[in-house]
Symmetry: D2
């Protein structure tokens, strides 16, 4: 990589909802980080439910595509809501596929960063803790600080999914700066 080209980042939203605050957060990150991080959003709505019997026969197309995207990327950026004090099943299912095979998965050694937005006050705090726990097993170094927890998201995005809250935009920019500095540690 030339020293002045941006890192290639796969962005994954933990919600399939079209109007998801978290996909909107990823889009804001795309916009803010343009020169340092080239963020491509990869959808996970076509990934089937994980089943080892299926995996043993053939890897589904949507899984193969997801694995390849992560493998070729310099880093992984996840923006996710919290469902039931935990990681959305939809997102965890994608991670379960990504984590295979155990020793040589696309997640192994891949630098990552986590963000979350929710209408409530806790801003996905518990979900992010659980996600980090999975990334211990997959050996995926997730950046520690700063942490992006967007609470009361419905007040911070406009009807078009644009993040209008200036303090949050500024903080997100700093977060992305730190991510750009986190990635080369794991070369």
């Amino acid at each position: 990589m030339a020293s002045d080209s941006p890192y290639r980042i796969v962005g994954i939203a933990g919600s399939l909802r079209r109007g998801s605050f978290n996909r909107a957060l990823l889009r804001t990150a795309q916009e803010l980080a343009l020169e340092r991080l080239n963020i491509q959003i990869h959808e996970i709505g076509d990934v089937p439910l994980y089943n080892q019997d299926i995996e043993d026969q053939t890897v589904p197309q949507a899984v193969d595509s997801l694995r390849q995207a992560v493998r070729e990327a310099d880093g992984l950026l996840i923006a996710t809501p919290e469902y039931n004090h935990g990681v959305p099943g939809v997102l965890k299912n994608a991670i379960d596929w990504l984590s295979r095979p155990p020793r040589g998965s696309a997640l192994n050694g891949k630098p990552a960063a986590l963000m979350g937005a929710s209408p409530g006050m806790t801003g996905t705090a518990r979900c992010q803790s659980q996600l980090r726990q999975s990334f211990v097993f997959t050996n995926t170094p997730a950046m520690l600080q700063p942490e992006v927890l967007v609470s009361r998201a419905h007040e911070k995005f406009d009807a078009n999914g644009r993040l209008t809250d200036e303090p949050t935009r500024k903080f997100l920019g700093q977060f992305l700066d730190h991510f750009a500095a986190w990635i080369p540690r794991f070369r």
Copy 2:
């Protein structure tokens, strides 16, 4: 309910694999608890990925059937592996659907018990901790003790999925006795 008829229990396995140790564990529980607990295993492999946009239009058939089964049951028994130090996405996805709508879900107030089997040593300890965290939000009282964590599962089931390890069978029986005593607390 007549005092001598068994409680109706929905059993859910967290793995879709045909030869799953956890489905085998549920079958052993069926056999051991026959007089106190009538355990019906409900499969979750047809439940689609959770998407609020879909839910807002129509509830998928597999979800409707799952919700109704849990709603009509006296309790919920989950047997699950641990994927990536966490809850399998497959299982969490089913719980995400079950948790809706927020105030009046099928999980609200439903007594539950958790079991887990895995080839490793930790026997799904971390997965069960995460699952309990979700059950706080859904207001699902999960029995605390004893905890069933079947480690080195491949040594304790035979090729037909029969649990042959006698100490584990005995402990499972005690666990089910406790579950039968846990359920009426939440009437």
Copy 3:
């Protein structure tokens, strides 16, 4: 217990700071629950660091007193800050002493409820998750819903430690009602 006498509750604050928001929250609970719950605050600042070598010789006076208070109570009410995304060591240390001996501890079967106040937005969410995890092992049934997470505590208490935020006072009252209904389930 006569049906109209209040339950005896031991209240424990997870912070030793004199001006602790969490001790102030306990005092508000004392005031609001007077007719249903008789809450006695028990301080834990004299409990020494847990050391099994010490325990094997003699149980320190402060530990003995704490154990007896919890043993004689009908329930346990904890109000705690979050330190470093977790349970304050001070509080966990008290619980470690209380959890002994393993089978017959004062925490075994004791109904509990958790509250938390913090200056930040997440309102001790992660700390409460960890605390519940310990209460699985000690077989301490902690009420699930509602959850009291007082965020931005510095705006909700006055200089005298009085909880002045009316919505929070009202919610706390409902929480205590639920706790009073939770306790008799574990008789």
Copy 4:
């Protein structure tokens, strides 16, 4: 640092018990890593219970000494039991002191590695998850893989606290190799 001198590591045991398996594990690590890691064990039994009122007046001597040791070290190695499915209060209390002041603590940016030994089967899995959660807040990059979870510890150490189980010794050696490679990433 000259390229061939070992990293200076502070080792902390999460148990105060004289015959602690975890202190014995630290001693084994000292022995095995001699050329790459110079591990100095720092005791935490004199650290008082954390109280911000005390901290605002004067930092206790034992805390000052601990902070200085960690600050001067190249890395932190923790070996800890699991108490009540969580971090021992004793250890968490030391971390609570170490985490202060918030922005410029001795833990900020300090590479760490976690180990655990316990008589049970889960080998401190839940404790390590909680500890990692605190290290997110303190910005302490804890190595992800491999994970040292010594189960059935009483069968793997002899009466003198010597780790006699050869597979565990070998695995510990590999773990320490990885730690030595983890440290320079955070320069």
